[in-house]
Symmetry: D2
Subunit: 143 residues, 4 copies
């Protein structure tokens, strides 16, 4: 499969479609094999103890799966998450950004399945592991 | 099983432990059989189209499972989510609060499993369905 | 929603489509609100200790979600499971059948989501809880 | 982490603990980084169309997660699956064995989390993706 959108264009598209999370996430790298997406550590996502909260990690996994899928599908604001399974395995490190490594395992006609591993920046052990399914509108341009 | 904390005390405990989400959630009712928890519709959780976002629904399911579990365990700030599976089934209605109906299916020595159904207020069809596992510290007081 | 197939006709359909599991499962009751399906306790599904194995419980949840969905869709051999999340919560009782209580939470154009609780017969506490997604071929007759 | 059991000893242990599935599964390779486990294609696991059934794939993912975990924990027959999320993404190829590539993402004091990708032998695209949690008895020897 080939990418239809490069990182810069994707960032503009994200900011346009989800203005409410502008500045929260950014794309470190985007290729056909893997997306690396960053959650900027930010006071409002913190739990007691100074670590990134579960909902903030879910948000990162969700947007990473969206971006990884849209890379192959093209700009398609109407794709929606239909399922997420997420295992929280370790406490993220305080004061560190969280990075999502996302890989599209399947891109079908109406569904995509994306594997996402989350890491505290600089640490080799994943803090969370998620699998997300997106429903893609049938009229999406995947010619 | 009997509840160890009533709704009012639980609300105070939540505000103390998670000050950053104060005002976002509230408890409609809490019994040994079921917790009903409310996500106040709020500009910042919205997706394009005016509906509640996936991450906001995840947050509601997560806090509802926490509160339902703590009802039986007692105040235990250190319990952590280890897993969540969530199916997003329908678009929440614009301009409506989302209600979580949570039921503890298992309360073991170190884990709880909670079933959560989410509804747009006034609608009988669930918008999402989640199952969450919490890890409970072994020193929690469950005598 | 109304059922399109009654229990007897469904049993014949199952035996025809899945001859390899004939005799393993049977339908206790089937209504628009709930399906109760039975896994006949059987030497070959047992784990050490005489309890029903995890894979046998998965099979029961899977076939129950299929039958509950087909009740509304009509005979559709080609529907396939796309996702299952299952929590194993208690050890099933030795020497007891396992009963699945299945409820279709969503029936969309291409996907169904079914909630399944599994019980050892005669016990009120669930042994497992599953959520399954079936992909339904677009040409299925759901007029 | 270092492995405590080599492939041959693990195979003997499996046959002893789960005699009912003897001959169904075998270990292709076992290292600290990855386990490759094989489901021998076999008439009794087949669906209409000659492909491996969903329950047979679940069984393979389950036993692979068990073996990958036990490699680090040592022989511990009492570990039990507490959760499995599995996405079925493609139809396995008829007449081919299915291979599980399993990787332990977390080994905690009481829980392990294992990622499993399933492939039809000779094909690069995964047929299923699973995440499994095992509960490990506290008295297990992990010194």
């Amino acid at each position: 499969m080939e990418l239809k959108i490069a990182a810069e264009e994707m960032t503009e598209f994200l900011n346009e479609v989800f203005p409410q999370v502008k500045g929260m996430f950014s794309i470190d790298s985007l290729s056909a094999e893997k997306l690396v997406m960053r959650l900027h550590e930010d006071e409002k996502h913190l739990r007691p103890g100074g670590t990134v909260s579960g909902p903030a990690m879910f948000s990162l996994a969700d947007v990473a799966a969206y971006v990884a899928t849209m890379g192959f599908v093209g700009k398609e604001a109407l794709a929606v998450t239909t399922h997420c399974s997420i295992d929280f395995m370790r406490k993220p490190e305080a004061g560190k950004d969280v990075l999502a490594h996302a890989r599209v395992l399947k891109l079908g006609k109406t569904l995509s399945v994306t594997d996402v591993l989350l890491y505290s920046e600089g640490s080799p052990k994943p803090v969370a592991h998620a699998s997300l399914t997106y429903s893609i509108p049938p009229f999406a341009n995947r010619a």
